[in-house]
Amino acid sequence: MGFWDSLRGRTRPRQANLDALFGIPTAAITLETAAGLRPTGLGAVCYRAAEGAAFTRTQADVVELIEADGGPAVERSVDRFGFTWLVARDDDLSHLCTDLHAVNTALEVQGFGSGLLCSLVPFAADDGRRVGLVYLYKQGTFYPFAPAGGEAGEQRRDNLLELTVRDLLANELPVEADLQRWLAVWGAPGL
């Protein structure tokens, strides 16, 4: 936000940058060959549902669009922070990315682009380790989020795995350089 905007007390809601999503399939190949992490076939978009009928209508249209022509079923859930997760299932990663992109575009076109928080594509290794590739819309960058499997309710991150993934993907995707922005998404679908 510029100086002039803050002086006038105006926030220009940051619009989402969507195109980097299509880099995920290439990154998935690297993750599989180098770290044994395979896509789980899930993909999720996390956003803040706006009040009012316009948003409900937009959301219904999006779900219908993805499910049309034998597309994957879409699940919708609301987490404890009041953010909505739209989860799509598709074993073909590039189809999945197209679906995620479609959700984002639809919301953006209707003027709800500022409500998008992140997209998430979870990966799993054979030994049970899981890592989610999170796309931050407002930054246009990715970061890994790996919850360490502990007892229920315990919130620990597998930082080593996260940093490994970051280094692996450094040449494939725009990875968030500021570690402060590596927001934890506990209880996200697929993790």
């Binding site: 006038r8 007390g9 953006e108």
Partner: protein, 301 residues
């Protein structure tokens, strides 16, 4: 292609810019008047001290405010819910995460302070945590984060510097009148300085309150757009202000120094007229939120 439902509130911006311009003009007028009345030699020094005080207020705003409210910073381990909420709001707004504080007080309130977004702290009272549900609390936090993003502490400090300098001059001149009056010309000059300072102080007081109300409305707007739920902020405001009005004013006196940074004023505005209120009336704020809600619900294209 992508458009936003963020309506422009040109009227508010114009009114606010005008007020800021007038405050700036007032400061210039004060300086010019002082230059013209040079007999008081120490006036520039007092003016500089006044500016120094304003600067110090801004520089140490986070520490002073936290101490005044007896608030303490909380770690993500101590308050995971609160931190999680702030985390997500900051990711949505694309701003650095401020520190989070909790003040042990039953008055339901929240404030944000700090000299820059990087050094900001957002603080809530235990009262507000008990009173509001998660959605409403998020609305309040978004309002406070908007204050941080708008650099309201800086804007209000700069805006108040004319008033601070004028106040210092009045004091200084009174002191000078008692101690150092040697010639009658000096007395006249000092009286003139007192009069000018008082006038400047009075005007800047009213303008400052006006500016403060506009900044609050701006923060309401930005906060509502951040959470996409103007209704949640509206119901939070109703709860807070309703509760605040029910608490005896006597207990709230201690909080009066902090009013500029609160989400709702802690002292009831009965003795103060609407002109001197630091916050807009509840009706004004609710009306604006209702308009935003209508805009969000506008049918799809």
């Amino acid at each position: 292609m992508a458009h936003s439902r963020f309506i422009r509130d040109t009227g508010l911006t114009v009114r606010m810019t005008t007020v800021m311009f007038l405050l700036g003009g007032l400061f210039v007028a004060l300086i010019v008047a002082l230059m013209a009345m040079m007999p008081v030699q120490y006036a520039p020094i007092i003016g500089l001290v006044g500016l120094g005080i304003a600067f110090w207020q801004w520089w140490s705003s986070d520490k002073v405010a936290m101490r005044a409210m007896r608030a303490r910073e909380v770690t993500p381990e101590e308050a995971p819910e609160l931190h999680g909420m702030v985390d997500r709001l900051c990711a949505m707004a694309d701003m650095p995460k401020p520190r989070v504080g909790v003040a042990d007080s039953d008055i339901p309130n929240a404030f944000a302070t700090g000299r820059s977004p990087e050094r900001a702290v957002v603080c809530v009272t235990t009262g507000i945590l008990k009173k509001l549900d998660a959605e409403e609390l998020e609305g309040v936090l978004a309002h406070e984060l908007s204050h941080v993003a708008h650099r309201d502490v800086l804007v209000m400090t700069v805006a108040s510097s004319a008033g601070i300098v004028a106040g210092m001059l009045t004091r200084g001149a009174q002191w000078g009148m008692m101690g150092r009056s040697r010639s009658s010309g000096g007395i006249a000059g000092i009286v003139l300085v007192v009069v000018v300072s008082l006038v400047v102080y009075a005007i800047s007081f009213v303008l400052l309150r006006l500016l403060s109300r506009y900044r609050e409305l701006c923060a309401d707007r930005s906060g509502a757009y951040l959470t996409q739920k103007p209704g949640a902020l509206a119901s939070a405001l109703q709860k807070i202000t309703g509760e605040m009005a029910a608490i005896p004013t006597k207990d709230l006196r201690k909080a009066s120094t902090m009013n500029a940074f609160f989400i709702a004023p802690a002292v009831r505005g009965i003795s103060l007229s609407t002109i001197t209120a630091t916050h807009p009336s509840l009706e004004q704020r609710l009306e604006q939120l209702a308009r935003i809600q209508a805009e969000l619900a506008r049918p799809v294209d």
